[in-house]
Amino acid sequence: MAQQTAHEAAHHEHHHEELGFWRKYVFSTDHKVIGIQYGITGLIFLFFGFTLMMLMRWQLAFPGQALPGIGGLFQKIFGDKMVLPDVNGHPGVMTSELYNSFGAMHGTIMVFLGIVPTAFAAFGNYVVPLQIGAPDMTFPKINMASYWSFFLGGVVMLASFFCPGGAAKSGWTSYSPLANITDQVPEFVAAHPVLGLIFNGQSMWILGMVFLITSSLLGSVNFITTIIQLRAPGMTWMRLPFFVWAQLVTSFLLLLAFPPLEAASIFQLMDRVAGTSFFLPSGLIVNGAQIHISGGGSPLLWQHLFWFLAHPEVYVLILPGIGIIGEVVANNTRKPLWGYKAMVFAIFVLGFLSFIVWAHHMYLTGMGAAVSAFFQTTTIMISVPSVILLTALILSLWGGSIRFTTPMCFATAFLPMFGIGGLTGIPLAFNALDLYLHDTYYVIAHFHYIVAPGTIFAIFAGVYHWFPKATGRMMNQFLGRLHFWASFLFINGIFLPMFLQGMLGMHRRWYDGGASYDISKAIVWGLSGFDWNKVISISAWGLGLAQLPFIFNFFSSIWYGKAVGRNPWDATTLEWLAPSPPPHGNFDHAPEVHRGPYEYSVPGAAQDFIPQSEPTSPTAPAAPALAH
């Protein structure tokens, strides 16, 4: 055995000598390196997007007061047009323009540069080929192009902060006509007629989106082809780990839902650069004067095309998370996933229905009763597969001998958090209730419960779970616990009060947290002498601090973590068959699959897990029911 590994190591060393540093770690075509690149870039963007929100929370909790400590630096970075001095002359009060651009970029970065690359692309790239027993993705070069296209998109988005006029300010939804007419600084456009039209926040946002859409397209083509073509011998469809199913459905959502947004982005870019009016109606009045356009467009067209993407996008955000949780739960409860087949069908129905619910984001746009009724019905229907998934995961815990490892802590917390997020969405599905709750903090709390303590907790669970595979070392358990409990408390401190604020009518885009509205002063700020805005803000900063143990743990464990073997979690799926970390080409020899993905605690078996690659021998109890 030792001889074999030595031989194997020598073999791979020889293989790697052909590649220089740049080809091996930067412009790599290896799915594992690309997965790690995606993961690290995505986590950095997640933290950056969160930092924007931590700055905004200062403005919401203490409107008009200068940022303490970093106010001067803040002004240096964003310029004195965007950051003003407070009444005492201290620099560090963000303008409403900067607040808006932070809000828009927070949403964009979290969704397109944070969660999709991490939950979908990073784990998908790293884990999917390993789990199906493939040597790599089908199109390694396209895979690399996908990462670099994503990277360029991120660079363009970040660069937009430093364009004249600042980054995009029209929300992550970029609703027209607002998004068509903002962000162009007249003096700059006059000085540079062509550059002025492109180098401004919203145009850069669109260009960045085009790169990101291209990246997702290349990625999803690769995933689907890989899953269909490169499954190891014996890996039949119903033996696929649940995570692979989740990735397959997610890939289809990205593949088919993103192009309409690309079409819409092209329309909006034409509106901004070539003077068309796809989304501008005739006779539009801006700043008291009718703007000089041909007219004839419709802002509703943007909303339709945008939400045709953005609703499936919601499921793109959550499905990989559910997949990760499925893996972690099965492994740590030491029993098969409850209702694996039902979960697979549910995830398909979910993906399918997610395409025909989009207009529930648009109840306020003046759709008639027939259309509203249609979309209400489909929206309620989509809650059925979601509930099936959640129920199956909760029932999987039943009767299990649960190991509360760090990934399992996050996975256990995921279940109620996802439940709260999902159930609070049901009132929003109804037209009549939505008219009241639309654009309030209630909506913010609802979808953040799904993506923040939902998907982001799933991402953390995945990082802790697959870290030993990627590095050959464990992450520290104590620091993991610290990270988990602090994050869990603070994240609820952020989002629970938002339900209350939203039901009291607090609007999501108030720049001063409602301080300037007499009504909101009483209900949002002074209710029982308790200031929810401050509670939320302090929780947000606490959540920021709670990530420090994770960051420290992540980097220190790469070098100083406890070294482990191939299968530290006693798991069944194929990725644990490969060496940790797996070499280029992944497996020692092409794996073969002989059984389902979750054969834990099989009665009569020698161990409490049987790997998928374990052949069914005639002496082993093949049908345990008969043995008793």
Binding site: A359, V371, F374
Partner: protein, 110 residues
């Protein structure tokens, strides 16, 4: 003339088999030319209303598109995996069109 140097020539690449295909491709090409001429000619005939004219032109275009997809893109004899992708896509494209139209035709009446 190096094409005779073919190490992998086998029965699957039987020239007669492909000659038959080539004839088929030329016939389809001819049909597409004819349909294009037809569509231009028909656009100068009034079928009663603008809607009728559009429907006639779209029928011809769909026939042409069908020919290209079925023969040139080999969809007539393709695998089910690919049919599944396309059925899904067609469903969603139709959904995109229909629901957008539905929303257009059913606004709140003041």
């Amino acid at each position: 003339m190096n094409e005779t140097h073919d190490p992998q020539h086998d029965a699957a690449h039987d020239p007669a088999h492909f000659n038959k295909h080539v004839r088929g491709y030329l016939v389809v090409g001819g049909a597409l030319f004819a349909c294009t001429a037809l569509t231009v000619a028909l656009s100068y005939v009034d079928f009663g209303s603008r809607e009728a004219n559009i429907i006639v032109a779209m029928i011809v275009a769909t026939v042409k598109a069908g020919l290209v997809a079925a023969i040139f893109m080999h969809l007539l004899s393709e695998r089910w995996t690919i049919y599944r992708f396309l059925l899904l896509t067609v469903f969603f494209v139709i959904g995109l069109f229909l629901l957008t139209l539905l929303a257009y035709h059913n606004p709140i009446r003041m």
